[in-house]
């Protein structure tokens, strides 16, 4: 059983807000999926959502109130962080520790810059107050909380018009009493004030990441709450306010109401949908281990899928600065995209990026004032993009402007224009391939054992060259490469994560006490899901332990099943040695193992729709004939007359040898000479590089 229960003809909608477009997908059993792209409305993202929803329902011929599930990937939290448009937060800490947030790890951002700057903390020093209190690692009170100081601090902060309050005391994960008392006091003085306490937001040891995570929650909550409440009201007026669910960074969805208080879980709301969808595609296409490559205009996201699941890491950082201690889909962003600019540096080398032409002025070919050659300009000049049909023909580009920009750089480098254009692609590919290799090798994997799943506007343009560079044998371009994140929203379960820190040697750990802690976490998880309307039979509680060798600083996560007993702990130690070997290259079986954290994920299962209904929309029955031919430049081969295909025209038995270019509305794919491409049963394009030496 699952959340949507036995009523298979329920209507589900996934809506993903992007920078330019808001992607919308509607699924209904026994019907063709409906896909709509509407322009995003950055001032009020909800507007585009309502527009898209209305259009989907019009096309489906159903009233909006018939929608049973609306899953939404939002950039509200991400943008608030990137643009520093967060709420004014006050912070109260243990006496002596208000500067923890500012000192951080004490490591400096740049090694060789004498004139460097460090990003300011989210809460400035005068809004960080200290109160006398101290709890020890076992949760015992060392110094009682001084209530007078608490009221004094609160009054001072309220007089500064803070919009929210974060409280982070040392060892509060072991005893949350003092933090809760501060929250009560705050409620007395101002019942409307949003208060978050570190023992609830991030109950894990290490004061800096815990405080930072709590502060991020406080900074985002008022912004996220405002947005979600507005959206819920809009939806409520159409009868579906309770159907709203939001995608979290961990790859699971959560009800709109819950999302209001877990704002710090929404930072990767958008890309998480892509990771979930890519994992599903990888699994069904029988390539359970895959690297994902999502290339956009200014940056590219790289992710890893193992055994058909997106990898989730236990901590990350926001804006590359602020630690955020929440489970997050493991996505690595690099500053290379279609808008990355090619330039000659002081030593005479051709460099690409990190400077990007962005959306404004954009690549030279956009004719909006850009005069420097970008990756997109190089693709256009080399025939890899069609000037007549850029973005499905809805967008005019000016190839002569690309040429002028490339020619200028060619003169500076004393090379011909072709060499410079192909050089920009080579250099950009080399750096992206380097990033893919570093991302996988740092996690203990060899990219040659993986398939590459490419999506995003520019991903399929570069994927086959990257695969060749990395020794990857298979490239997968999903049928819905352009709306993958929205599709992923409809494949996600509901999910809440809980943590309990308990540092204890495994051999002397009290299994009954660990079991009690797990049961307690499970009760909280189940209660939260039930509160969101999930029936008990759809609730799954997944336990895991963070373990390490005694003396180590950091830990590895090991899943466990069933009641905690001595035997179970022994088994967990066994798995730990194995995971340690896989991750770090060696294990020390005779070393004592230590428990660090108990983790529990409460999953509310959403029933999958039948495969047949959702992915085959683009598999047509037309003949596999090219729609056109044009001259395209391939490195090592030069200009080649190349057939252009429309993806919608492919049938299931299609198999085409490169060189070829395959276009669809929102992306273009290159098949290089000596590569072949076929369509699989899911409608994915599968490029094989096996033919190459």
């Amino acid at each position: 059983m699952s959340v949507t229960g036995n009523v298979l003809n329920k209507v589900r909608v996934g809506i993903d807000t992007g920078g330019t477009f808001t992607d919308c997908v509607l699924w209904q059993n026994e019907k063709q999926p409906i896909v709509v792209k509407v322009p995003s409305t950055p001032q009020n993202p909800a507007e585009a959502i309502i527009n898209g929803l209305q259009r989907l329902c019009d096309l489906a011929g159903i009233p909006v109130e018939e929608v049973d599930l609306l899953a939404h990937g939002t950039t509200v939290a991400t943008n608030a962080m990137l643009q520093e448009q967060w709420a004014k937060v006050g912070l109260i800490t243990t006496k002596g520790f208000r500067d923890t947030l500012e000192i951080g790890t004490q490591m400096r951002p740049e090694l060789y810059q004498l004139q460097q700057k460090k990003t300011a903390p989210i809460v400035p020093r005068h809004l960080r107050m200290e109160v006398t209190e101290r709890i020890d690692p076992q949760g015992k009170v060392v110094d009682e909380l001084n209530k007078e100081e608490v009221y004094e601090a609160l009054k001072k902060l309220l007089s500064e018009d803070i919009e929210s309050l974060a409280v982070s005391f040392l060892f509060s994960y072991a005893n949350s009493e003092h933090e809760a008392l501060v929250r009560e006091a705050a409620a007395e003085l101002d019942p409307e004030l949003y208060v978050c306490i570190s023992s609830e937001v991030s109950p894990e040891f290490r004061e800096y990441p815990r405080t930072s995570t709590t502060v991020i929650n406080g900074a985002l909550a008022p912004v996220v709450r405002r947005y979600i409440r507005y959206l819920r009201e809009e939806l409520q007026s159409r009868g579906i306010g309770e159907k709203l669910n939001i995608m979290q960074s961990n790859g699971g969805i959560v009800s709109g109401k819950e999302a209001e208080v877990s704002s710090h879980n929404l930072i990767l709301s958008g890309p998480a949908g892509g990771a979930v969808a890519a994992a599903e595609i990888a699994r069904k296409a029988n390539f359970p281990n895959a690297l994902t490559f999502d290339m956009g205009g200014t940056s590219s996201d790289i992710g890893i899928i193992i055994d058909g699941k997106p990898q989730v890491v236990q901590g990350t950082s926001v804006n590359d600065v602020y630690p955020l201690q929440v489970p997050t889909v493991d996505i690595h962003t690099i500053g290379a995209g279609g808008g990355s600019i090619g330039w000659k540096d002081k030593g005479g080398a051709l460099k690409v990026g990190p400077k990007s032409a962005g959306a404004v002025p954009g690549p030279a070919c956009y004719g909006k004032g850009g005069t420097e050659p970008t990756v997109t300009d190089a693709n256009l000049f080399l025939g890899r993009l069609d000037p007549e049909n850029y973005l499905g023909g809805e967008f005019t580009v000016y190839p002569e402007k690309s040429y002028a920009a490339l020619e200028k750089l060619a003169k500076e480098l004393d090379l011909d224009v072709e060499r410079v254009a192909s050089g920009i692609l080579e250099v950009a590919n080399a750096s992206m391939a380097g990033a893919l290799r570093v991302v996988s090798s740092r996690r203990g994997y060899d990219p040659r054992d993986f398939a590459l799943i490419a999506f995003g506007g520019a991903g399929p343009l570069h994927a086959t060259a990257l695969a060749r560079e990395l020794g990857i044998k298979t490239v997968i371009i999903p049928s819905s490469a352009g709306v993958l994140c929205a599709q992923g929203l409809l494949l996600s379960d509901m999910r809440h994560d809980f943590t309990h820190t308990e540092v204890v040697a495994l051999d002397i750990a009290d299994s009954a006490s660990l079991e009690r802690s797990f049961v307690e976490l499970g009760e909280r998880g189940a209660a939260r899901l039930k509160g969101e309307g999930v029936p008990s039979e759809c609730i799954h509680l997944k336990r895991s332990l963070d373990l390490r060798y005694k003396g180590q600083e950091y830990y590895l996560n090991v899943p466990v099943e069933g009641e905690v007993t001595r035997e179970l702990l022994q088994e967990a130690a066994g798995s730990f040695h194995e995971v340690h070997k896989n991750t770090y290259g060696h294990a020390a079986e005779n070393e004592p193992v230590e428990v660090v954290n108990l983790r529990l994920s409460a999953i509310g299962e959403i029933e999958r729709l039948d495969d047949e209904q959702v992915v085959k929309q683009e598999v047509g029955l037309n003949a596999n004939t090219p729609i056109n031919h044009r001259s395209v430049y391939f490195n090592e081969y030069g200009w080649m007359d190349t057939p252009i295909y429309h993806r919608g025209g492919f049938s299931l038995d299609t198999e085409i040898a490169g060189p070829a270019i395959i276009v669809q509305m929102d992306t273009t794919m290159i098949v290089e000479p000596q590569q072949t491409v076929r369509v699989d049963e899911q409608g994915n394009l599968i490029v094989s590089l096996e033919g190459r030496a």
């Binding site: 004490q106 400096r108 740049e110 020890d136 040891f205 290490r206 030593g347 290259g585």
Partner: protein, 586 residues
Amino acid sequence: MRKQSQLSIEKPETESKIDAITLEVVYSGLLAAADEMSGVLGRSAYSPIIREMIDYSCGIFDNKGNLIAQAENIPAHLGSMGTALRDLFNDFPLDTFQPGDAFLVNDPYRGGQHTPDLHVFTPAFLEGQLIGICGTIAHHADMGGKNPGTEGFDNKSIFEEGLRIPPVKLATAEQINEAVTTIIAGNVREPRATMGDLRAQIAACRYGEGRLKELANRYGVDTLLEVMKKSMDYSELRMRTELAAMKDTEATASGWLDDDGVGGPPVEIRIKVMKRGRDIEVDFTGTGPQMEGGMNVPPAAATSAVLYAIKCVVDPSTPQNQGCFRPIKVRLPEGSIVNPHFPAAVSLRHLAVQRIADTILRALSELYPERTAAGTFVGFSSLAIDSWHPIHGNPRVIQDDLGGGMGAHPNGDGIDAVDTHCGNVAILPAEVCELSYQIRVRSTELIPDSGGPGTWRGGLGIKREYEILEQEHQGLVYTEQSNPDFAPWGLKGGKAGSSAKIRHVRKDGQEVEMRKGYFQAQPGDRIIIETSGGGGYGYPVLRDVQRTIKDVREGKISLEAAEKVYGVVIKDGCIDVEATILKQSK
């Protein structure tokens, strides 16, 4: 011992068969390979000092021993592996290298840094041809000697600093040289961790070999070797172009260590920097004679400090390779603290290394303010205490190094509270401390008014208080820059930052000030360390009044200092305009 370390090895050639694009593509492959080696080492190392504090570096060298690409995690390792590698050629000439060989060295008198830093090198061959060499350096938790962790300010000879390993063959293609590993394991405090870390170093080198072979297969050996050569020429050109754009100068400066490690008088580091045209020379003539204690600096470490300082000033973004170093000449007088005679102790060379970097930057700061900054905290304030696990009771050593303020510069305030110059390690979290040791961190705070006043203010220092719990503890603390005369200097009218200070405050309130020393502490006693703030830049009265008001509001500058030093009078949280104008006009 070389009297002069000349880094220039070969002249650049202008002829070339490859273009800018091939160079960039293949070179980025070499840089990624060094970075991947670093990932392999970090993942498979055992000790926290390597994995968590990231005290290791990896590099790729050409088939003559020139550094081509380096992934260094702390600047202390900049360019230093090459010194050890070239010294190794004296015992193992290049033409005797065989596929599968691995070499090991840590001897500070054979191109090493200090005994805990182990170097491993392996040659890479393709079809019988040597195509490059992979190298790693990693700081091991312990190499034996009288103190846990091997380092000691009052060590009087290298023989108190654990196992000294001259260049030896650690492995052949067939097997590890077990005679070597057995001797090492028998001389260190944590043999299992040390062996694990050593295996991780070998694994990283082998990984690098594989990547070099792949690159040679893909682009051809000739292209690969040509790219290596051109990449050095490229970095050299970048450095020389920048140098040519800088005014010529001959500048001198002196920097001082508080003492010689055993309670003697301050020790001088004298620097003369000559920048002429496209070359730069750093001469240490006049630097004090080698000291009795453990802060002498072997040539490889002194050279790294020079390269760090020059790279900061000339061009921080030039790719790290031998070409960068060609325009730089270093003179290290024999028998001085920067080129000591065997068997002087060197284990705490990093304290002097910080001061070397600081002194070079001081020499250059008056002439190139747009490229430098005022003085930075270089005291390296640290503590090491023998403690016990609070629950299990097993003995363990707590170590912590504190950062301080960076110097202000014409474009902004110095950063508050960071590890500086050649170091960049993390602070021990208070919760990790109390979970792991019988020691409670009572506070970790920025120190108001510690940053040197100026138009731009120096960064603030850190104050940290450690409280001893449960039973008597023994430990040692040390710091440099405790003498106010040696505090981070101001520039162009800016004032000096505060000096560093360590106190042992007994439970009864009695205080003992310490600079470098051993102590016994009872439960309830506190060790309080205060590090320096950075120096200020420009005259304080010229500071933007709004910035001073903000600093006062944030408690980074006191009301009194605002009035007395900056001439900004604040009453009830608002600026008293008349009084301020009156003050500042004086």
